[in-house]
Subunit: 338 residues, 6 copies
């Protein structure tokens, strides 16, 4: 099987253990993650090959970040190690009950932000690919990142690959001279599949569910597809967060004029909420690849994968396809497997 | 008070901390356990002396396993250290919420499997005993283990000891030339008390609850006693597993034509589910010894002991009789004790 | 802003990690706490300056205890380091579900118990103060501690400071020659604000809610104020402990003839229950200082602060005023903050 | 083989890992030790049975201390669990290079100090014994401890057991009403073997090496034997401490008019210096039992055992006789054993 | 006693435990340090009060950094918390034997680099001071940092304080528009005491030891004093690094035309080499304050303090004056202190 | 550059931290290693691509082992995951000073031992290779492993690759029906480069240095080359182990009639001795590739690489070529790199 290729920034994540606060922690657990690379790594666990393209500082931290994804089988040969910039970091305080988890970002001036678009030869990178996936975080980081993202999408379209995006609008990330509302539309226009919430659609594209629409997600998705006719599938998770320790999620899909919604999964306790969305999209890529004619099945797989992710430490959804199918089949009581 | 003697294999347990998966863990917590030795150790905590007979490799791992049980007061003087075989291991991934805990066994070719039945002088081992307890795992391991188990039961009967068994049928353990269905009946025939679920009874003895029986456990127990007239008590826990983090258990007992069932305990979060059954039987041995005329009381003690075990790290139920009685008395809200 | 000054003993707290029992723990987490110093430290986190007066052994343990509070911004310049006595310790087993947390105290013969009342120059200590807070634990420790506490209250009254107390009657602490029932009333008589439960009021002052009173807390508070007319505010938390892992609390206040009660907060899981009461009183001092004319708001702040404390490791409530206000504003679902 | 019986206090040892200071440590490693019980535990590792008699608080700390020695095979059945007193503690800072290791004792008012001499039935305790060993720390703790020690020695003499003592004078331990110089002589008079340095001999017995004596240890030993004619063997280690990380030790023995001295062992790095003396005496008891006619061999064994102890974490010398013999045979280069 | 005031950047230090490399570490130990603040903290441990002025991001990392120094008694009231910039970090790999320790700096764009000189009111900050200390790292960071440093020195001179500097030239730090060779001389001109090696003197001031000078340090110091006549004392450590685990240091001083040099200390193993220079200067400030007329004694104290620092984990020299004097008195064999 | 391909078993390594013994360790550090795969991984760190062929159980342990080498860049695509057998383990106690490190192997019945030679298509595996490396451990494991090893060598010769072997005779590994003395010679006959000590040569090939030979290594190498004329280079390390914490090594090479020997490196302390030989051969492969005409330089590189390995935790030599060259250039004092 050919590869799914992802493109984006990978950061070091530093997190106090045992629900400690940053001001009291004598040690920090280290892992690495990025919204797009997490998708690649999860796909490999599910059994579908994936590669990631990114840019890292040519120092031990950059190498450690890349090696983390190598470990889980992601093809990192297209990554660039640069003398410019640093490794982006984020510090994660893990909340509990009514205390929220909290992230302190420290990602400014990263090597990825300073990447040289010419360093990525997309014809070569995508030569063995079947799919390109990116997130809205990538073009938010810098003009050069946005430019490289656009070049990747253009090459992918040229080659007839499937293109997906998690549009994922984060207002405070967009700090260079261009506006998300200008940068994102031409990029999204090249996508076949998007993860997009109603909030994202309004913020980025000015799309509001039609007044009185019976289902606001459907109304949004219809307008999105009307605006960007390449899009064939719009998906999202709907979270009903009960507490920092108890999440309830369901999966939503609009495709071919049809609306699909799963029953919810309750996750309590939540072990690690980071990467929940990334595991949803990787689950959907897997599901729609394996069951191309059965959207409900693909969505069920994606949602179960995301539910499982909340029980896995770290950014990456370290679960096999069999483990996800076990959940899809209704085995949600966590009975000991010997 | 004389000893309860148990016989069986003790394994090293290696477990990633903090709900990590085995593929990501840089360190593994070490403890030791075995379905029968756990009963012995729990009994000592409750205040009743116990000894364990087993077989270990004569290397640091074998000694560490034995010393773990010595630490908690089990008389290990009858254990054999052998040049044959290795220490059995099991790797435990601790699940959470809808992700199940999962065990990878690595116990083949253990010293216990290779034990020499002649190395166990049951007349001497049982000289200071009042009770013999074994589990269905022991005869499953090897022909020589089954033979030693039979010899132990025969000697116990000869001396008029009480004999109990947790029949605990595990299909994939039985890998030597004999069938569980042939090996187990003569061993169970020597027991006064058995832990047996309806599934065990069907798999091992072909006993199915009578069609239309109002209570399938009672129906099973009646047939079991009819088949093995030495048996006076049949007990079991009934689990309604809500998730890997939330267990609900109640205790069942059939004795003297009467059926007893406790109200359930909810345990959330579950700290360590391993040994939950062993703590039930040790609780019942304690309870029925202290309250021989009050089966409901014995069952209540056993069930509370098992509930508490789910909050204790490791295989062994490290709780005192007073702590169990505190639960039996209805103090289940976990109020801080100063 | 002037300081809140607290007076009392600080102990080393030694606690097995991961819900282990003391008999199985190969390492103990170390922190430090005291019912009054915890109030000072929490106030500094909330943005109100505070100082603590105490007595420590002149050894590394005493210095470590004082430094722990220095770290969180408490002014420790009035602390005394003495050659008499030792640092009090307490060992905390963290329970789970129906297994209670359990404290083994080891605080006898501490330097605080042996303090010399003359070593505390209250005129100087309170020179920059606006408020004095103490707890009923302090006079319980020794006659000299009770004497110093009385001297502090007297000087505070002389200077017109606000005085508050958490009366916190612990029967087994009172082991020197005097009775709590004799020692406490004159001290409480000097207070403007007390934390007092109905149990405390009965045990210490023989106050029982009037038969048939519609609200027993109000009845108690009315009698308390009648007895000690300096008192203007009586507060308490009402706990409905569900399990060692699930707490439900609400705040109660009687002031100016009015009764206030908050809606409850559920905390599940509880990360650390110790200091829950101390965080309530520090929250109330903060709240009533910032909103002197709005008792309900002060109480809401205090209760949210206490709820948050249950999610914070250690004795001290390491949360900012903004974080408490976030809860007061209804954000209790623990949604990730980026 | 019959048991060696030891008598004395066991303390909890709390130690910052990684050479941290107590003022900076967020966690403390826990182990347990006592100068006499360490001898018992080491003997069991060497293959000679041993029992220990002591007194512990009847709380989880006391049980944990006793279980630690049970784990390593010491027969603890003669230990007393008392409602009086606490578990003695000591805090150990592990130095490095020119920074010394440092102990903060917190052992006042222990259960052992408050022991009731009548609680120890020495006839029963020594019934299965061949040897009694005690240290000078025991009579230093309290009058009742000294009294029990005297009773043990008297009963041992009555039964013809060998009695040994590590006289180990620690000036600041003797804080009750009696003087070491009065208490120790009658106890030492009952010994066959003593560990005694020249400093101890001078401090306790006023014995000074004869002026101009060619070997001051021999001169001291001769006088000691002259004073206490029951003594047949005087041993000691001679330490040439190079740094907290580099120790050099040799063993000294005076017996039957002959002087023996081993060549020195260099230990660098030192992993754990505590218990170095206890491992010397346990090694000598083992060695003199196995090689009664070859004092030099016994001494060589003792010295090698002590050298090895410096590489073992914790108070107890967890090495086998074969491992000690490996060193005695000259294998000191630490070559990897596969 | 009045305060020693230091000014400079504090960074978070992240370090793999157990000599691991950054690419393999699953967790990083956290501490905080800065070349000037380390001096302040060490002085407080020695018994001399100190304050630090710095600039931190107004986020949990910035607060944690400041709290770390508060913990060890440094007066941090003059620190500024800013919305600009981030907390500087450094990643430390701890080497061993012939593998060097290695630092990856990640300090660009820190809040300290972006400080506003007007935010520091030196008249107020130095109001309670007797001494100002700074390092050559501070003016290297940014033009505004250099400007604030100059303002501090000017105010200190105006008030007649002693001013000291560790000139500490680090070529790759100077990355803004100005040259060290232009910025440093006017700052050094305001100093009474400097730490300066011959390399620093040549790089910064073009001072080379006179050809044929019998002692190159003396020759350099004479020229330095000739150039900057305010300087009365020039000090340095001379390192003969044997390996990453074995350091040999001696102290050098030129004062009043006299040259002083200590005998060397060997430190093996080195526990933590970071802050070795800072501990030397803090030791010298202490020593010259206590023994103003005895330069050799001050230098001996400084050198012993620095030697001890190499055995202390973290940036800060957590040793008391008594502990340093113990070394000065020749107790360098690390003999256990009970 | 084409790949170096290695073939052999990878085991899980479980090791108590902090020099603990296995009988006392509550947790074990986990890593993975194998004598041949370690060579592949080290080469990737040095900058030369490498692949490994092996056989693992199709369970989480097998995947974790493979992922560990993926992490460090080894191409693992040719590895086989099998339903037969288990993951081999080894338990490593890390010694100190005169206490040796000690390995308890638990590798019987591994998936590698049970490999199917037909599962390895050497034409495909070696298609992108320039070099094949194997160790004498591989043919020792089982007949099928030996057969696969022979097939690999044959295919490598057919393709004109360089073939190297670390003959590494371990007597107690050879437990199947064939003798090392029969199996090894035809395999070694296919090699261009061998690591071989004089002991190996005698045990495997009956080669003894000529009586009176001035250099026994040269004499052995000459005979080895005479026997196996394909061999062009014979290398070895000469260890002068001082203690478990202090190693001294030098490198030896015989090539083209010339003998080369490096000066020794002292390593103290040794952080991790395992893989010292593997790092020597990987260093030599690197060195002889980069400096084909300068054998002394290749040997110097290999020896420095091996010296550095002793300071690196885990089996794999995680050092760059630049770091090795830094040592070769004489920078062995471990001076801090900023």
């Amino acid at each position: 099987m050919k590869q799914v290729v992802t493109f984006g920034e990978i950061m070091m994540r530093l997190s106090p253990p045992n629900h400690e606060r940053l001001t009291q922690a004598p040690a920090l657990a280290v892992t690495y993650g990025g919204g797009d690379a997490n998708v690649a790594a999860a796909l490999v666990q599910l059994g579908q090959p994936a590669a990631h393209a990114g840019c890292f500082p040519a120092n031990p931290l950059g190498h450690a970040a890349a090696e983390h994804f190598q470990r889980y089988g992601v093809d990192m040969q297209h990554c660039v190690f640069s003398e410019n910039g640093r490794l982006g970091l984020y510090f994660l305080e893990v909340g509990a009950s009514l205390r929220p988890s909290r992230i302190v970002y420290d990602r400014a001036e990263s090597s990825f932000a300073h990447l040289d678009p010419a360093a990525f030869d997309w014809a070569k990178i995508l030569d063995n690919a079947r799919w390109l996936h990116w997130t809205g975080i990538t073009p938010a980081i810098s003009a050069s990142a946005a430019q490289a993202c656009g070049a990747a999408i253009a090459e992918a379209r040229r080659r007839g690959l499937t293109v997906s995006a998690d549009v994922n609008y984060r207002r405070n990330l967009w700090q260079y001279s261009q506006r998300a509302q200008d940068v994102m539309p031409p990029l999204v226009a090249g996508c076949d599949l998007v993860v997009c919430t109603e909030g994202d659609a309004e913020d980025l594209f000015g799309i509001r569910p039609a007044a009185g629409a019976p289902n606001s997600f459907v109304s949004m998705a219809e307008q999105l597809i009307a605006r960007f006719p390449q899009i064939r599938q719009v998906i999202a998770t709907k979270r009903e967060t009960q507490s920092a320790s108890h999440e309830r999620i369901r999966g939503l899909l609009y495709q071919g004029g049809e609306y699909y919604e799963t029953t919810p999964y309750d996750i309590a306790p939540v072990i690690d909420r980071i990467g929940g969305g990334d595991s949803f999209i990787s689950g959907f890529i897997y599901g729609t690849t394996v069951h191309p004619a059965d959207p409900a099945r693909a969505l069920a797989f994606a949602t179960a994968a995301s539910a499982l992710k909340h029980t896995i430490a770290g950014d990456i959804n370290l679960v096999s396809a069999a483990e996800v199918e076990h959940i899809v089949a209704g085995n949600t009581t966590g009975r000991l497997l010997r």
